[in-house]
Symmetry: C2
Subunit: 352 residues, 2 copies
């Protein structure tokens, strides 16, 4: 590893230390030169523009901006961009295509980590976790005399009183299906989902999936029906203009007063102001959010942070040790694949 080497080995630039499990995969090779941003902080732009010159590969985080200035600085030697993320909204895809730069990313490996968080948020929103943990933390547990319905919230699992339980999914990709799989032993027997409008419904495929997962009913429905019928709504669709505020005031008004909303996708899908009103006016029971419009600049007086029936997590969906290690390893392998003209574990279609 050297940033001043005069060798003819291809140079790769990495904007963040990937940890002791992954870095040796790159550092221990004698067929590449690795240039690593040395700090445990966002990679400095000036440093990156200087060090990228003549590089064959660049490994970036979701927090790094990749633009024409950076690609120009790299020059025609650049063969691959590898991002340690499933999303690549920080990357100018057409520019990469034009320059014949391959793009690697890290899909799939985070499915289970995000599905775990979706289940956790559904339970926390139903069972008033935010409200009761704050009460304990303030030392006020003993001030609440026990009564039969103290602290009670709706039960996620089926019960003798509510044997039918319905989960609704806005977006029904891998993470949603992994979430549904986890919900089956809770007694969720109906799954409604809202898919990409440009894709036609496929009742036969739905029936096959229902049989495989063990749910009685699985079907694509209009959003209004999904809102009205679901006991828990999971937002697990991509971000961007097409899904902006897909959960808006009319959607929230149509939900059951005992239902909960979980967003583990992107903050832009949920209209913040409408959700604040929905919680204050008891249109719905509660909400669990891993993402929020305007994140990470979320102050202590943010109305959803202050709402006792709302849990806000700092976008930790994929933040499990195992998943981030797997993402780092996949990003390193994609980098090597691109530099050495080999196959990548996961390559974005259209850049090769």
């Amino acid at each position: 590893m050297s940033s001043t080497s005069t060798s003819t080995r291809p140079k790769v630039v990495i904007t963040r230390n990937l940890g002791p499990e992954t870095m040796p995969l790159l550092l221990n090779r004698d067929d590449i030169d690795v240039v690593l941003w040395p700090e445990d902080s966002y990679c400095d732009r000036k440093w990156l523009l200087e060090n990228i010159r003549g590089a064959a590969g660049l490994l970036v985080m979701l927090s790094d901006r990749v633009d024409t200035e950076l690609l120009d600085a790299a020059g025609p030697s650049l063969k691959v961009l590898s991002t340690m993320s499933v999303g690549y909204e920080h990357v100018p895809l057409p520019e990469l295509v034009k320059r014949n730069v391959r793009l690697g990313y890290t899909p799939d490996v985070l499915t289970d980590a995000v599905a775990d968080i979706a289940i956790m948020l559904a339970l926390m929103a139903s069972r008033n976790a935010e409200e009761v943990t704050q009460l304990v933390r303030k030392g006020e547990w003993y001030k609440q005399p026990w009564s039969p319905f103290l602290f009670c919230g709706p039960q996620l699992s089926a019960s003798t009183i509510h044997p039918e339980r319905t989960a609704g999914f806005i977006g029904f990709g891998r993470i949603a299906q992994a979430t549904l799989r986890r919900l089956v032993p809770f007694g969720i027997n109906t799954c409604l989902y809202s898919g990409n409008p440009s894709t036609p419904a496929d009742p036969a495929a739905d029936a096959a999936l229902a049989a495989q997962l063990g749910v009685r009913t699985l079907r694509r429905v209009p959003l209004a029906e999904l809102a009205a019928q679901s006991d828990v709504v999971f937002v697990l669709a991509p971000g961007g203009p097409a899904t902006q505020h897909i959960v808006d005031a009319p959607f929230l008004r149509a939900m059951k007063p005992t239902a909960v909303l979980v967003n583990a996708a992107r903050g832009t899908l949920v209209d913040t102001d409408a959700l604040v009103t929905a919680l204050r006016e008891n249109w719905i029971w509660g909400a669990g959010l891993d993402v929020l419009e305007g994140e990470p600049v979320i102050h202590a007086d943010h109305p959803l942070v202050k709402e006792p029936r709302c849990t806000v997590l700092p976008h930790i969906g994929s933040a499990s040790i195992e998943t981030r290690q797997a993402m780092a390893k996949m990003a390193a392998e994609n980098l090597l694949g691109g530099v050495l003209d080999q196959a990548m574990s996961a390559e974005v279609v259209g850049t090769k």
Copy 2:
């Protein structure tokens, strides 16, 4: 309903309003007189001693003390005691047997509600929910620059890095098995449990249950093995002297540093001081507790409340609306069954 009636209908005394779904089951009958503690607070002892005279039935909460003074005050007319709880440690069972008073309770209906909380706590403890929600609440999200392993905790679900996942259960009754059933789609493929030492192990029954639930391995093991092998340990055994501090310092020291502890049973099973040390010295990753020694008098400076890797809930295991309604209904039915000399939904063996 009257507390001054001179009718010859049997009188029943109820120490707490059971809610609008259940009270009509009792109040709308013309074959009993219902005397109801009128406040939404603990039933006053003096009021109870006065009103119990000549009653045929008494419906109590876990928070009411039933003793010989109360039974003497009721007199020989008392035929049934119905408690709206699964436990009956507040009831002198031998005294009831001696006086030929039947005892009704409310088992089973809370199984799913507690299993839901056990799963929630396992996820919260693994994924640092306490720590990260507090950070968001303080408005400090944006102060944490993103890095590949920021906020990361061990993943409950299986992963490519850890395809083998083991859950350990101290106590393996209905709630534990309902919890295990929910864990299967998370990829938990090994279940170890520690059962009542007086019951012999039954490998054939274990194998049958494993096949039914879809786990590869299910077996009873000594506590030390359970501690050392499990990625998550669930404490779901009865309280009392036999299980006092069954999770102690040696147990916690034997656990994996990436494992989490969940207690959704009784506070007495876990040695509080040992758990504080285990969390501070990173013997284990985290803990999720629905119960705590000394509850509900838990002050804000309690060392487990202050521990960032520990979530403390105010004993809400069975506190779902559906479950508490079902418990109230069962308690009312048990009361009626006893007063009218009919079968009860759930009667403690030995009092009839």
